[in-house]
């Protein structure tokens, strides 16, 4: 099974940058209705840069690890770059195995390429990321570069 890459298991056991921190511009709470898992996520945006992503996550290894990778990869990036990463990451997840992901573009996000073979888990790998883009929007960032169905994929 390509799903549980070592990197995923490690992040899920020891999620990076976890916890809810101040200051923040927006906080969102997302739920995956099929399993009941939840994530609370805060973003701190300053001068067009993602200064901090802090979160509290209750969920499966995929959702916790992906939120952890999100925080690791995206913190410190400009919002434009962050949204680009999201787009590539999501494209990989939605590709049904066709797009293996490019490490140049999404960094450790490539560890989740196996998820695209398991449609029921795509929501897991997107839970934190959807919360993140939603939080950006609530913080006043223009997220129209990612299409509108991005925040709520129906897997």
């Amino acid at each position: 099974m390509d799903l549980y890459q070592e990197l995923i298991l490690e992040h899920s056991k020891r999620p990076h940058r976890m916890g809810l921190r101040e200051p923040f511009d927006a906080e969102v709470h997302h739920v995956n209705p099929t399993c009941g898992d939840e994530v609370t996520l805060r973003v701190d945006v300053e001068d067009g840069t993602v200064k901090d992503i802090s979160y509290d996550a209750l969920g499966c290894s995929i959702s916790v690890a992906s939120t952890s990778v999100l925080a690791t990869e995206v913190t410190g990036e400009s919002v434009e770059e962050a949204l680009e990463v999201f787009k590539h990451y999501r494209a990989m997840l939605m590709s049904k195995g066709k797009d293996p992901g490019d490490e140049e573009q999404i960094g450790d996000g490539v560890a989740f390429s196996g998820v695209s073979q398991y449609p029921a888990r795509v929501k897991c790998a997107l839970l934190g990321w959807s919360a993140f883009t939603d939080a950006l929007a609530q913080a006043g960032v223009d997220i129209s570069t990612i299409s509108s169905d991005a925040a709520a994929p129906t897997a």
């Binding site: 739920v31 209705p33 099929t34 009941g36 398991y118 449609p119 029921a120 888990r121 709520a152 129906t154």
Partner: protein, 431 residues
């Protein structure tokens, strides 16, 4: 529409896909099935698609992470995509129901909620005393009784366009009927008795000018002609799977995204929720919001196969084929002055549904004589009782067609019909 009707050879080939058409009834008489308007026959491809689902993928869609459930979910959602596209919609604009009747009740019940606290924008779907719902006198009970019940319970007033003796909508009073008070216009695209094709686009435009929601009962159009919901300009559109070569037990409700988004849930339960606590729950986005419980996934897959089958023929050709049959039947009936056709007698804005009345003989008795010859037509009020009252008949006989119907079957009907005057001793005006 300039498409060619199906050739004799094409129809003969198609008929091989419908095993039931080879059966006999009433002591060896070949079945002449002219009741496709009630329910259509199903091609083997549809039965095979359903069976294939059951023998390869069967499991509950959207309810599991195992391989089978993944495959069932993919098949179910692919079916949604294809069926929605068939009426011009996007995947998430199609809700699966058990039949068109449920689709229409889903809408009327939404208005009973009086707006739902968990659904932003749902206040739009409220009705009060002084508000009006506008229907037509030619509606099928499925698009009439739910609105009656809604009006009874909200205190709103039901109004309707009457029908002319020729079987067209009488729009002469449109300015008093369709007003600022009108909150909903609900009407049939095609009458299931008269075959009349109503001027939906024009009426939808007028209705939108006064801010009314437009609900279309497309049961008798979707199976028989190209239908593109967005370009008709309606807000919601209901149809039934079993009338369009699909399985029983499945229907559809297409809705414009903005409308579905604001529509409160109807049936509540599993898989239409977002979060559930003992105290209260919140609800999922459409279409899931309207699909509580394990869905009829096998039937959805079967209906998608039906849509594929129809598309392979081409809906414009389906329409042309049925128009040719209709013309043949209308011509034949015109030669029999003892028969009165209900509805338009020419082919302008008319579809393949021909209801008629033999003066002096009850429709059930007419039907019985036809049935004795193996010819299956529907008799009664066809769930359009008020229309029959308006046309001053208690009941009628009705012939309806499918892609598998042949000109010879139309002739068989006419021949069998000629027995009626003799049996019941009525004057034919001939000789």
């Amino acid at each position: 529409m300039s498409a060619n009707p199906l050739s004799e050879k094409e129809v003969a080939a198609l008929r091989g896909d419908f095993p039931i058409l080879a059966r006999t009834v009433r002591g060896g008489k070949p079945l002449v099935y002219l009741d496709s308007g009630a329910t259509s026959q199903k091609p083997t491809a549809v039965l095979d698609a359903e069976r294939d689902f059951y023998t390869r993928l069967n499991s509950a869609p959207h309810r599991g992470a195992h391989a089978l459930s993944e495959e069932a979910t993919a098949a179910y959602e692919s079916a949604r995509e294809r069926i929605s596209a068939f009426v011009g919609g996007r995947p998430d604009e199609l809700v699966f129901t058990k039949n068109a009747t449920e689709s229409l009740n889903l809408v009327t019940h939404a208005f009973l909620m009086g707006g739902h606290p968990a659904i932003p924008g749902s206040e739009r779907f409220t009705l009060d005393e002084g508000d009006e719902v506008l229907v037509t006198e030619m509606e099928h009970h499925a698009n009439l009784v739910p609105w009656q019940e809604l009006c009874r319970r909200t205190g709103a007033t039901l109004r309707w366009f009457p029908v002319t003796p020729e079987g067209r909508l009488d729009l002469s009073d449109i300015d008093t009927l369709l007003t600022e008070r009108t909150k909903v216009l609900a009407l049939a695209h095609v009458s299931n008795v008269l075959g009349t094709v109503n001027p939906v686009q024009m009426l939808a435009e007028r209705a939108h000018q006064v801010g009314a929601l437009v609900v279309l009962d497309a049961c008798q159009s979707v199976p028989h002609m190209p239908v593109d919901a967005p370009s008709l300009g309606v807000d919601l559109l209901a149809f039934s799977g079993h009338k369009m070569l699909g399985p029983m037990g499945i229907g559809g409700l297409w809705g414009r995204s903005e409308v579905l988004d604001a529509l409160p849930p109807f049936l509540t339960g599993g898989s239409m929720i977002e979060t559930v606590r003992m105290e209260a729950s919140t609800y999922a986005a459409p279409p899931q919001r309207f699909e509580a419980g394990v869905p009829m996934a096998a039937q959805a897959v079967g209906l998608a196969a039906a849509v594929d089958y129809l598309q392979a023929i081409g809906m414009d050709r389906v329409h042309a084929h049925e128009a040719a049959l209709t013309e043949r039947l209308l011509d034949g009936l015109a030669q029999r002055p003892w028969v009165r056709v209900l509805g338009p007698t020419d082919m302008v804005d008319r579809s393949g549904t021909v209801a008629f009345d033999v003066e002096g003989v009850h429709a059930h008795d007419v039907g019985q004589i036809l049935d004795d010859a193996g010819v299956a037509v529907r008799v009664g009020h066809h769930c359009a009782w008020p229309l029959h009252r308006a046309l001053r008949v208690t009941a009628s006989a009705r012939a309806t067609f499918g892609i598998y119907t042949t000109p010879a079957e139309v002739d068989a009907l006419l021949t069998a019909l000629d027995r009626v005057p003799a049996v019941f001793g009525i004057e034919t005006g001939a000789r």
